[in-house]
């Protein structure tokens, strides 16, 4: 069984059910966009995929095997912020993954192997459009450039799975569409399954081959008391709080592949929305 499988996954923090009964199968090479209201558990979902957190119930399988319970080099990640190392220059930030791999003790390469790692990093940097900036520190890059760097850094170890948590949430609209082009190209050119959390629906449909929505099951008005509302009136015992789960699951049709998107392409509408989640 290839790909990523969520098998009846629940996640609770103490009494608070965050995710409820997640059943999901993600095909290899899919580009899954995850949307949902704030606080519904998207980051929690990603953290479990990373191995940073474990499900309270259920199991996560990758290529048929249980997920390693800690982050590792088979899964790359880019966060909204803090993804890159501020004390390393741009090129060092990209090289460092190779250094971790090749030099277990020092975490540093010298001589020939260093040169190889450097060249490799420079190629990645030029792929993300950062050539010429390789000796700067991240703090002197703009937000968009930092996220490009984080991408290059994550790609350096050639992960099978790339996890993105609102990677472009803090960017200006103009810069954002540039980087959309980049991430599509990266996905096209590599053997990569991407799971991206985003707040922006149009971004989800523009990039994803599949868009999954999480929601708390009983819809409560936005900005209300979050959990209190579940404790409804006249039941003798309070109803258990509800977690979020998958409420919609679109395959974006036609499945997008190859060819960078034109800069001003309008947000595609879901042409073939299905409401069944893959495993139901």
């Amino acid at each position: 069984m290839k790909g990523i499988v969520f098998d009846k996954v629940w996640k609770e923090y103490g009494d608070h059910v965050v995710l409820e009964q997640i059943n999901l199968e993600i095909a290899p090479r899919a580009f899954v966009a995850l949307v949902g209201p704030s606080g519904c558990g998207k980051t929690t979902f990603l953290r479990m995929l990373l191995g940073e957190d474990t499900p309270t119930r259920g199991a996560i399988l990758v290529d048929g095997r249980p997920l390693k319970p800690e982050p590792d080099s088979d899964r790359g990640v880019v966060f909204q912020r803090y993804s890159v190392f501020p004390h390393l220059t741009v090129v060092q930030n990209v090289m460092v993954g190779r250094e971790f791999e090749k030099s277990r003790l020092l975490g540093r390469l010298f001589g020939q192997s260093r040169k190889a790692a450097h060249d490799e990093a420079m190629q990645l940097l030029s792929a993300v459009g950062l050539e010429g900036h390789e000796n700067k520190y991240p703090a002197s890059l703009s937000g968009g450039m930092q996220q490009r760097l984080a991408l290059a850094q994550a790609l350096n170890r050639r992960p099978k799975i790339l996890l993105l948590d609102e990677p472009f949430g803090a960017l200006d609209p103009g810069i954002r569409s540039d980087i959309h082009v980049l991430i599509r190209r990266i996905w096209n050119e590599n053997d990569l399954t991407v799971v991206m959390v985003t707040h922006d629906l149009s971004e989800a449909f523009r990039l994803g081959t599949r868009v999954i929505a999480f929601e708390r099951q009983r819809n409560r008005p936005e900005e209300q008391e979050r959990y209190g509302a579940t404790l409804t009136g006249d039941l003798p015992t309070p109803a258990p709080p509800l977690g979020a789960t998958i409420t919609r699951d679109f395959d974006v049709w036609p499945p997008k592949i190859a060819s960078p998107l034109p800069n001003a392409e309008p947000a595609p509408q879901p042409t073939n929305g299905k409401n069944d989640s893959a495993l139901h």
């Binding site: 982050p71 890159v84 190392f85 250094e99 971790f100 020092l106 975490g107 520190y137 703090a139």
Partner: protein, 272 residues
């Protein structure tokens, strides 16, 4: 205009900054001349002339017996103790701070202990320190180390925990081991922050140095102050205190300078 919106320009700033120093000088001059009028031999608040005389004697005249310029040899002795103690303190604190800040197991094990230990007044346990370290330089340095390292450890552990979790995860997704995370991700980021913490410990370090030199020594700034205190030679004590203040201030500036020089990325990272 509201007082909160009035900003002095550069020239005024310098002028204003001088005022309190001048006031202290004037207050001292008045107090001193009042006391000297009553008893010309008064030693508590000597006149500026007497202080200058003492400085001349201690800083610019060879000591008859030892052939040394006392103030300089005292300074060298004290600085050697202070700087080696701070260096040791920094190394220990860096090790334990990263260890505790980074590993949950180490945090559980040593966190509460160091929290309690940092509350122990070190001066009261001097006798035990003497037995362990002897009465020589070692115990003086040890006193400063104990007085500063515990605070530093806790501070560094906190700073380590402030490093965004995202970076630790990212490092792991790049294949880093715990050791590699410690050496290549955490240590270099904590070093400049340690300099900040170290700057805060300069004051306490001087305090402990003076205390240690007061207990057993044959040279050093604190030694001299406590020795001449026996006959209330404020004409020596006052310039020594001013000199210590200057040294502490210069050390503070030096650490800031080093921070800027050695960690060019830090200013930018801190601002963001």
């Amino acid at each position: 205009m509201r007082a909160i919106n009035i900003k002095p320009n550069r020239g005024w700033h310098v002028l204003l900054a001088c005022i309190p120093f001048l006031l202290v000088l004037v207050a001292y001059a008045i107090g001193s001349s009042l006391r000297l009028a009553e008893n010309p031999n008064d030693k508590l608040l000597p006149g500026f002339g007497a202080i200058a005389e003492a400085v001349k004697q201690y800083a610019f005249t060879e000591d008859a017996r030892t052939g040394l310029y006392l103030m300089w040899s005292d300074t060298v002795a004290s600085l050697a103790r202070l700087l080696s103690a701070l260096a040791i303190s920094a190394v220990i604190a860096l090790f334990f701070g990263i260890f505790i800040g980074m590993l949950p197991l180490a945090r559980s094990t040593f966190g509460p202990f160091f929290a309690v230990a940092s509350m122990v007044p070190p001066l009261a346990l001097l006798p035990i320190l003497f037995i362990v370290m002897g009465l020589g330089e070692a115990s003086k340095i040890a006193l400063i180390v104990i007085g500063t390292a515990l605070k530093l450890i806790r501070d560094i552990a906190l700073r380590v925990q402030e490093i965004p979790r995202e970076q630790i995860i990212k490092a792991q997704t790049l294949g880093a081991s715990t050791w590699q995370i410690a050496t290549r991700v955490i240590t270099p980021q904590v070093l400049p922050r340690m300099l900040d913490a170290l700057r805060l410990e300069i004051g306490p370090a001087w305090l402990f140095l003076i205390a240690a030199e007061a207990i057993a020594a044959d040279s050093g700034l604190g030694y001299r102050i406590f020795l001449v205190r026996r006959y209330l030679s404020m004409d020596v004590i006052i310039p020594y205190v001013i000199w210590i203040t200057i040294l502490a201030f210069v050390m503070d500036m030096a650490l800031r300078w080093v921070q800027g020089r050695a960690f060019p990325w830090f200013a930018g990272a801190r601002a963001s």
